[in-house]
């Protein structure tokens, strides 16, 4: 099917129908710019060393073992085999345990997505039938299996001709939004304020293609490095004016009016704009490329 290497191979099962499938990484994270850590006094590079927190002596790799915190900074050593033993045997089966209406899914739990693809020619029909049935019922399947040495839950939904399995974060890893927002002041917004804000949103409605976005940080940083190495004073960030409560209505009125002629407005951070900063700042010198490497 594909030249890529599967992260996991097993079976997808709905009711009694099953088909051989593979999970393939659908998204990767591009590396951020990293710096090298230096000693200000000597200008030398820094390196990491692993030391005993109590004796402060260097601990060689051979003496490093795994352990758990039992509370109060008390640790117990644990044999990796004992840990492995609590993971149930992998049955290599993604069985749909339940289906959730597509619009009821809580995306806050989403971790990484994987392409779910049939791995046998004989199973093409079964795979396509499952996919089409999920499309027709507007459902998302919930399945659990041992993935990356943990029992994990994935959400399975159709995507083009294939399926996507999104791994979920565990329940205890997700903070409740109700809890996180409980201290937000209860302000009732109505009347002209709400109408104006809605109007502003209406004027800013547009098309957005997440595939066509770029990261301007690297270029901006290169410009900063250049300025600093030429001994120029770096620009101080401009103070930001916050709208005061009694000016809020005016600010909204002005925004709503101003945005009618929005073509004259300079674009600041339009997510789909071309590399604005790139045209004003020179490309970093060839040597600067090495700065992408991780600091050791």
């Amino acid at each position: 099917m594909t030249a890529h290497r599967a992260q996991w191979k097993g079976h997808l099962k709905v009711g009694e129908l099953s088909c051989a499938v593979g999970l393939y990484t659908a998204a990767s994270t591009s590396e951020r710019i990293s710096f090298h850590m230096l000693n200000v006094k000597t200008g030398n590079r820094l390196k990491r060393e692993f030391i005993d927190s109590d004796t402060e002596e260097v601990v060689e790799h051979d003496s490093q073992v795994k352990g758990f915190d039992t509370g109060n900074g008390d640790y117990v050593m644990i044999d990796p085999e004992e840990v492995a033993a609590v993971v149930p045997d992998a049955d290599k089966m993604l069985q749909a345990e339940a289906f959730i209406p597509h619009e009821k899914v809580d995306d806050i739990y989403f971790d990484k997505p994987y392409y779910l693809v049939p791995t046998n020619d004989e199973d093409q029909d079964a795979f396509a039938s499952i996919r089409d049935a999920v499309v027709k019922t507007k459902a998302t399947a919930i399945a659990r299996t041992v993935l990356f040495r943990r029992v994990r839950t994935v959400l399975i939904r159709p995507h083009g001709r294939g399926l996507i399995a999104t791994m979920l974060n565990f329940d205890y890893e997700v903070r409740s939004s109700k809890e996180a927002f409980k201290n937000v002041a209860k302000v009732k917004v109505e009347g002209e304020m709400l109408d104006l804000a809605r109007h502003i949103i209406e004027t800013k409605k547009g098309e957005f293609d997440p595939a066509k976005t770029d990261d301007r940080y690297e270029t901006a940083l290169a410009a900063l490095v250049k300025a600093k190495s030429e001994g120029k004073t770096l620009p101080k960030p401009k103070p930001i004016k916050v709208s005061k409560p009694n000016d809020l209505l005016n600010a909204l009125r002005e925004s709503a009016g101003m945005d009618k002629g929005s073509s004259k407005k300079p674009k600041a951070a339009n997510a789909n704009s071309k590399k604005k900063a790139a045209s004003t700042a020179k490309k970093p010198k060839a040597g600067a490329k090495t700065a992408h490497k991780k600091a050791s």
Partner: protein, 273 residues
């Protein structure tokens, strides 16, 4: 779950309306049972420290600096203050430039969620106006913000009393689906589909967080608790060391067996249910 410290503080802007906001991660590993590295000889934790690569001496925090490698062994030192001066307004401000329907942004682009709230009383009303207007229009906002030395494209969605900020993956971070999906059968078998529809409808359920529970973590917590008890016990009966060691070992084996069985049972129960 404990409230986390703001990960980012800055401003939320819609046209001429600006308010101070704070952002915290929506996910946290704080409750996950995690391994630590220990020194086998002392049982103490192993921690990492920076040393000068030439002199081998430990370096204090104040002596540490970030160096941007301009050329081979040629660094420009950048302080945190310098980095603040990067000429991108997105370092401090989430300026909502555009609004789109939620459905127009595919799930595959969602990377990491954050919770955004007003950070000072002065911004409470402005924050509420932006949030409620997005809700009323049933739209999500699109903007950018610098997080962790990358300028991320973000999606803003009103939720409860706050706003969820999702960092979005860049186009080149999502692998082209055609490389995986081309060649998959276009149409399923009609009879098969209708049979599957019946099964799916029967198994329709509401989402609940327990669906994302972690049975292995539950077992790990038990394992650690048992280890702790065993450690205490062996400490108390030091004089009869050899005897208690034997006992301890056999105990551990039994516990392991029991745990394995209970996890297997639980999984079965889940599948059956």
């Amino acid at each position: 779950m404990p409230a986390s410290r703001p990960y980012w503080r800055g401003y939320l802007k819609l046209s001429l309306v600006t308010c101070p906001v704070a952002m915290t991660p929506a996910t946290s590993e704080s409750e996950k049972v995690r391994f630590h590295t220990l020194n086998e000889k002392t049982g103490n934790r192993v921690v990492s420290q920076y040393v000068d690569s030439v002199t081998g001496k430990p370096v204090s925090d104040e002596q540490e600096a970030k160096g941007y490698e301009r050329g081979e062994n040629d660094y420009v030192i950048l302080t945190d203050e310098d980095l603040e001066a990067v000429e991108l307004e997105t370092v401090r401000t989430i300026d909502i430039e555009k609004f789109v329907s939620r459905e127009s942004i595919d799930w595959i682009y969602l990377d990491t969620p954050f919770y955004l709230t007003a950070n000072e009383k002065i911004g409470d009303e402005a924050f509420a106006v932006i949030r409620d207007a997005m809700k009323a229009q049933d739209m999500v906002g699109v903007s950018r913000v610098v997080l962790g030395r990358r300028e991320r494209v973000v999606m803003l969605e009103a939720r409860d009393q706050g706003i969820v900020v999702w960092t979005l993956r860049f186009g080149d971070e999502v692998r082209p689906e055609s490389e995986y999906f081309t060649g998959i059968e276009k149409k399923g078998d009609a009879k098969g589909i209708s049979a599957l529809e019946t099964i799916i409808k029967k198994k329709m359920a509401d989402w609940s967080p327990e669906m994302a529970s972690d049975p292995v973590q539950e077992s790990l917590i038990k394992l650690i608790a048992d280890k702790k008890k065993a450690k205490k016990r062996s400490g108390k009966t030091k004089s009869k060391a050899s005897k208690s060691d034997d006992q301890h070992e056999s105990n551990v084996v039994n516990i392991m067996d029991a745990l394995k069985k209970s996890v297997a049972k639980e999984l079965k129960a889940r599948k059956a249910g």
